[in-house]
C-alpha cells in the first residue's frame, strides 16, 4: 500500500486499517499519550484539564436542560421549576449546571492566577494567553445570558442593569440598547435572543479552546520553574504520568463539586432568583453572580457612568497586554523575590473588589472600592513594569532535571517546584 502505514501501537488490525486512512488514533497517541510534558508540573497544572472537563459537563447538562426549558417570559420560571419537580433527576441536571457555572469560574480563575504567578504568558506563549482571555470573556457572556434564563428577579434586574450600561455610550448608546434588547426594556424578545446566544457561545468557546490547545502544543507547557525544557531528561510522557495525576485531581475536584450539588445547591445563588421576574418591583439589591462581583465593583467605584463602563472593560482587556506590561526576563515568580509577594497583593485586591461588589455602595465600601479599583490598574500599569526593571531575579537552575534531582537533596527549590511528589 502506498503512503505511510499507521504507527499506532496496537495489535488490532482493524484499528491499524482505520488509522492508516483516518489517523485519529495517531492523533490521540501524539496528543495525549506520548506527548512530552515537563516533569515538574505541580497540581496547579491540573486546572487546565479541569476547565475542559467543566466545559464538557456544562454543554452536556445544558443540552438536556434545553429540552425542558421554555424561553418565554410567562413560562420560563415555571418550566425550570417543573424540570426540578416532575422530570426524573431534573433537579440533579439543574443543580449540576447551576453550580457548574460557579465551579467553572473557580477553576478558570485559579488557572489564570497560576499563569500569572508562573509567567506562563511570556514569550513565546503570548497568543496562548490571549486566547485564554478571549475564553474568559466568552464565559462571562455565556454565564450572564444563562443567568437570565430562569427568569427570576435577579435574572431580570441583572439583565436590566447590565444592558443599561450600553446607554452610557454617547449618541449611539440608546439605539444600541434598544437593538440589543429587541425593545425598550428587557422582555420576551430579549429572553429569546439570550437563550439563542446562551446555546451558541459555549460552542464558540469549544472552538477557541481548540486554538488555545494548538498554541499550547506549539511550545509545550510552561512549568513551575519557568525555564525552557532543554532535552528529554526534562520531560516525561503525558501518559501515564499526567493522565493519572489529572484523574486524581479530577476526583478531588468532583468531591468538592458534589458536596455543593447535593448539600449546598443554592448556597452560591441568590434567594431573589426564586421569585419570578417582576418588572414592577425592583429587588432591594441587584447583585450579579459572585464570579462577576470584582468587575461589578470596578464599574460602581467610578462615579461617571461612561468611565465606569470603560474601566469595567479595561479591567479585562488589560489582561491582553500582560505579556508586555510584565518586563521581567524571568518567568516564574519563584525566582522573583519582589513579584512573588506583589502577586498576593493582586489576589487580595481582587477579593476586596469581590466583597465590595456584593454590598451596596455606602460608607466604607465606597472608599475600599475606589482604592481597590485604583490598585488593580496601578498593579498592572505601573507596578508590574517597574518591578520587572528593578527586581534582581534569583539565579535560575541549569535545567529542570538538575533542579529536580537537587531537590531530592533538599535544596531550596523543593517547596516550590513541589511537583514530582
Amino acid at each position: 500500500m502506498a503512503g505511510t502505514p499507521s504507527t499506532v501501537r496496537t495489535n488490532s488490525r482493524l484499528i491499524k486499517w482505520i488509522d492508516t486512512r483516518l489517523p485519529l488514533f495517531t492523533f490521540v497517541q501524539d496528543a495525549a499519550i506520548d506527548y512530552p510534558e515537563p516533569r515538574n508540573l505541580n497540581y496547579f497544572w491540573n486546572f487546565g484539564s479541569l476547565a475542559g472537563t467543566m466545559l464538557v459537563i456544562m454543554i452536556t447538562t445544558g443540552i438536556f436542560l434545553a429540552m425542558q426549558y421554555t424561553p418565554h417570559v410567562d413560562y420560563a420560571f415555571s418550566s425550570v421549576e417543573r424540570l426540578m419537580r416532575d422530570v426524573n433527576y431534573g433537579w440533579l441536571l439543574r443543580y449540576i449546571h447551576m453550580n457548574g457555572a460557579s465551579f467553572f469560574f473557580i477553576v478558570v480563575y485559579i488557572h489564570i492566577f497560576r499563569g500569572y504567578y508562573y509567567g506562563s504568558y511570556k514569550e513565546p506563549r503570548e497568543l496562548l494567553w490571549m486566547l485564554g482571555v478571549v475564553i474568559l470573556l466568552l464565559m462571562m457572556a455565556t454565564a450572564f445570558f444563562g443567568y437570565v434564563l430562569p427568569w427570576g428577579q435577579m435574572s431580570y434586574w441583572g439583565a436590566t442593569v447590565i444592558t443599561n450600561l450600553f446607554t452610557a455610550i454617547p449618541v449611539i448608546g440608546n439605539p444600541i440598547h434598544t437593538w440589543l434588547l429587541g425593545g425598550f426594556a428587557v422582555g420576551n424578545p430579549t429572553l429569546n435572543r439570550f437563550f439563542s446566544l446562551h446555546y451558541l457561545l459555549p460552542f464558540v468557546i469549544v472552538g477557541v479552546v481548540g486554538l488555545h490547545l494548538i498554541a499550547l502544543r506549539q511550545h509545550g507547557s510552561n512549568n513551575p520553574l519557568g525555564i525552557a525544557v532543554k532535552g528529554p531528561q526534562d520531560e516525561i510522557p503525558f501518559h501515564p504520568y499526567y493522565t493519572i495525576k489529572d484523574m486524581f485531581g479530577l476526583g478531588v475536584f468532583l468531591v468538592i463539586y458534589a458536596i455543593f450539588i447535593f448539600y449546598l445547591p443554592n448556597a452560591l445563588g441568590d434567594p431573589q432568583n426564586y421569585i419570578e421576574a417582576n418588572p414592577l418591583q425592583t429587588p432591594p439589591e441587584i447583585v450579579p453572580e459572585w464570579y462577576l462581583l470584582p468587575f461589578y465593583a470596578i464599574l460602581r467605584s467610578i462615579p461617571d457612568k461612561l468611565i465606569g463602563v470603560l474601566a469595567l472593560f479595561a479591567s479585562i482587556f488589560i489582561l491582553f497586554l500582560l505579556p508586555w506590561l510584565d518586563t521581567s526576563r524571568v518567568r516564574s515568580s519563584y525566582f522573583r523575590p519582589i513579584h512573588k509577594w506583589v502577586f498576593w497583593l493582586l489576589v487580595i485586591d481582587v477579593f476586596a473588589l469581590g466583597t465590595v461588589g456584593a454590598h451596596r455602595p455606602e460608607g466604607a465600601y465606597i472608599v475600599v472600592g475606589r482604592i481597590a479599583t485604583f490598585y488593580y490598574f496601578f498593579h498592572f500599569v505601573i507596578l508590574l513594569p517597574l518591578i520587572g526593571w528593578f527586581e534582581r531575579p534569583l539565579p535560575l537552575p541549569e535545567s529542570i532535571a538538575a533542579a529536580v534531582t537537587k531537590k531530592t537533596a533538599a535544596a531550596p527549590g523543593a517547596a516550590q517546584s513541589g511537583a514530582v511528589s
Partner: protein
C-alpha cells in the same frame, strides 16, 4: 500548600458573598430544629400532613401555590408525596371547585377538582389579590422557602424555613412604643421593616389537627414551614440520599486514583 490556601480563601469568600449580599438592617429569624436538616435529613410525614392541613384550611384563603398539583401529595408525587394515598388525594382534590372548559357549547364551567389539577388559587389575578389585601398581594408560596432567608442557614437550606417560622410566630399585638404603624398593617419582628400586610394567620388552636397533635402556635408554624419546605423542593430527600452515595463513590474512586498515582510516579524519584 499554596493550593490549599487559595482554595480555602476562595471558599470563604464565596460563602461570604451571598450572606454579605443579603445582610441588611433586618432581623435574622432564630434558628429552629428541622427534621429535614443535615446530611441524612428526611421530612417528618406527620408534620408534612399537618402542614398541608394548615395551608389548606388557612393560608390557601389568601396564598396560591401554582407550582403544585394535588397528585403531588400522593405516592406518585415528586419525592413520594407527603404520605397521602391516591384515594385521599382524590378526596382532597374533589373538595375544590375548578374552572374548566370551554365545553362543546363554548362555555366555561366549574367541576370538582381532580388529582392532576394544580392547586386552586384564591384570587383570579394579582390585581384582585392586591385589592383584597390592603394593597399587598400575598405571594405565591410554592417556592417561598427558597426565596427567603439569610445568613449561614440559607447556605444549607434552613434559612428559608427559619424565616417562615419566624414570620408566622413573629407578630406582636402592640408595636414597640414610638413605632409608627401604618393603618391596616401588622407589626412583625422578622418581616423587613416590621410592617406586614398579612394579619396574623395563626394562633393557638387555629386548626384542629386530624392526628390529635396539640395545635399550639409554634407547632402550627413549625408544621406549616415544614410543608412549605417540602413544597419548595419535594425531591430534597432523594437529593441528599443520592448525594451520600455519589460522594462515597467519588471518595473511594479518588482514593484508588491516589494510590495509582503514587505507584506510577514512584519510579521517577
Amino acid at each position: 500548600m499554596r493550593a490549599l490556601a487559595v482554595i480555602a480563601i476562595a471558599s470563604v469568600a464565596l460563602a461570604g458573598a451571598p450572606i454579605a449580599a443579603s445582610a441588611q438592617d433586618e432581623v435574622e429569624a432564630p434558628h429552629q430544629n428541622w427534621s429535614f436538616a443535615g446530611i441524612f435529613g428526611t421530612f417528618d410525614r406527620g408534620s408534612l400532613q399537618r402542614g398541608f392541613q394548615i395551608y389548606n384550611e388557612v393560608c390557601s384563603n389568601c396564598h396560591s401555590m401554582k407550582l403544585l398539583h394535588y397528585r403531588d401529595l400522593g405516592p406518585n408525587g415528586p419525592g413520594g408525596g407527603i404520605g397521602f394515598s391516591d384515594a385521599e388525594v382524590a378526596a382532597i382534590a374533589a373538595q375544590k371547585q375548578v374552572e374548566d372548559g370551554p365545553n362543546d357549547q363554548g362555555e366555561m364551567f366549574r367541576r370538582p377538582g381532580k388529582p392532576q389539577d394544580t392547586f386552586v388559587s384564591p384570587f383570579p389575578n394579582v390585581e384582585a389579590a392586591r385589592a383584597a389585601n390592603g394593597g399587598a398581594a400575598p405571594p405565591d408560596l410554592s417556592v417561598i422557602v427558597k426565596a427567603r432567608g439569610r445568613g449561614l442557614e440559607y447556605l444549607w437550606g434552613e434559612g428559608g424555613p427559619d424565616y417562615v417560622y419566624g414570620i408566622l410566630t413573629g407578630f406582636e399585638d402592640k408595636p414597640p412604643t414610638g413605632f409608627q404603624l401604618t393603618q391596616g398593617k401588622y407589626y412583625n419582628n422578622i418581616f423587613p421593616g416590621h410592617q406586614i400586610s398579612m394579619p396574623p394567620p395563626l394562633a393557638d388552636n387555629t386548626v384542629k389537627f386530624q392526628d390529635g397533635t396539640k395545635a399550639t402556635l409554634s407547632q402550627e408554624a413549625h408544621d406549616a414551614a415544614t410543608f412549605l419546605t417540602w413544597a419548595a423542593e419535594p425531591n430534597m430527600e432523594d437529593r441528599k440520599q443520592t448525594g451520600a452515595k455519589a460522594i462515597l463513590f467519588l471518595l473511594a474512586m479518588t482514593g484508588v486514583l491516589y494510590g495509582a498515582k503514587r505507584r506510577v510516579w514512584k519510579d521517577l524519584h
